[in-house]
Symmetry: C2
Subunit: 271 residues, 2 copies
């Protein structure tokens, strides 16, 4: 405001000398956010802006954060990883408590630590794990409406796992991403893809876990939709290799709703 | 409106002849309700009014429901039981689906059935089961903020179970109810009282389950608060008999928050 009146502290020089790179592990309930990525000026609430605003209030200076990746509107995170540069002297492990007064209870900082200046939450990610939850019962539970896809019938968990196994390894996943995905290379490597049930005899909550070196847009939600059709007996597990080979978005399953999806964990090269 | 103009259908006689007593099992997320019991005229949202309004829209006639008991503001239910009289010809088992368009997604009808005209959800209840959830971690999970009490340290589950065992049986529970509870007989029988953990080695979500023939106001939340102090090492399990004997609300634990409490099940004499 009074730029011309006050000689500013030479922040840049100081910053370079004492600048730290802080890495936070963040959990959030995505229900009430329009995704992770900042949409400043639109008035739409995003996780990134909420975190940046909280960090600015805490540290007294504007902060730009880098996330491991975007999550879409309504998608949750248990282990989203972000980093940011700051000259603040707040001990890194104190961020979870220190940010508490500035954040809504839909966002929790699970861990804070200092990382090398070269660390970048997005470009340094080695692999990511997503989870997708199905709630299988005639009527949806009010306690899972925000956190699972409602499936009003039983699913064949064994068949889903047989189909899921075919997705492991390096494949061209162009049939398993949103039609307009603007990338040239659709090859991703999937390390783990399996479905577990909460109760062996009478499964109600099913959890699909997928770990891979990268994911295309909507890839987990389309995998979840395709496996849902296998579990419902509409597709056979043994048809999966041909389906992957086709590379045709029109042949794979529906994109299931965002509420069942969680960015569960991000691992880095130096860990 | 036009009472004088239209000869009303002699509903009473018809009703008596074709009246049915319908019993519904209802789950609700209590977060956004000011309790179960109707507070008509106040504008405060209650579960009872929401159900009555939905039933009126569905059946075309005003409906009064009877619940197995009230739940306080913010308290949830997995197995609340209600009954109501209607002349509607909707098959009882169809109510869960038929009410869907008229209810918010925070309320789910899990089951519908016809019961004898003498059935009353409150007076016929043989026993009730409540659950109370503790979420034990430094930082609260955004996914449990509505459904568990946050405990930012570890609890000794074995000690809690030792203490819980002393609550079983018939006792005068005047020390375990809200100070102003307007009853004369404070004796209740507890059939089950135990705490289970989600993971044996590293428990995070603890669930207290209490079944009894009746409960005083805030009784489960005060039991939960007392057992919390046992789990934290502030009370010894062997002090429980004396604590019960004292009958002094000032000596028992805090009333924990409503968000961790669930009316889990209600059983009836004829089942």
């Amino acid at each position: 405001m009074d730029d011309g009146m006050i000689t500013p502290v030479p922040k840049n020089k100081d910053s370079e000398m004492s600048q730290k790179n802080i890495c936070l592990t963040v959990a959030y309930d995505g229900t009430d956010f329009c995704g992770f990525q900042s949409q400043r000026g639109t008035g739409l609430p995003t996780v990134q802006e909420t975190l940046e605003d909280a960090l600015e209030k805490l540290t007294g200076a504007p902060v730009q954060i880098f996330g491991s990746g975007r999550t879409d509107s309504g998608v949750h995170a248990w282990g989203q990883v972000i980093n940011f540069y700051t000259v603040s002297t707040i001990p890194p492990q104190r961020y979870p408590m220190a940010l508490l007064p500035y954040l809504p209870d839909s966002i929790t900082i699970r861990e804070g630590k200092a990382v090398p200046l070269s660390f970048h939450a997005r470009f340094g990610a080695k692999n990511k794990t997503y989870r997708y939850q199905y709630y299988c019962a005639r009527q949806m539970s009010p306690f899972y409406r925000r956190y699972a896809c409602h499936v009003p019938y039983k699913l064949d968990v064994e068949a889903m796992n047989q189909a899921a196994a075919y997705l492991k390894g390096s494949h061209d996943f162009r049939g398993f991403c949103a039609a307009a995905t603007p990338v040239e290379n659709f090859v991703r490597e999937i390390y783990e893809c399996s479905v577990t049930a909460d109760h062996p005899e009478e499964p109600c909550l099913l959890t699909l876990q997928v770990q891979g070196n990268g994911f295309l847009w909507n890839m987990v939600r389309i995998i979840a939709g395709t496996l849902l059709e296998v579990g419902a007996g509409k597709r056979r597990p043994r048809d999966m290799p041909a389906l992957i080979g086709l590379g045709d978005r029109r042949q794979t399953g529906k994109t299931l709703g965002p509420q069942g999806l969680f960015l569960y964990e991000v691992n880095y090269l130096d860990e």
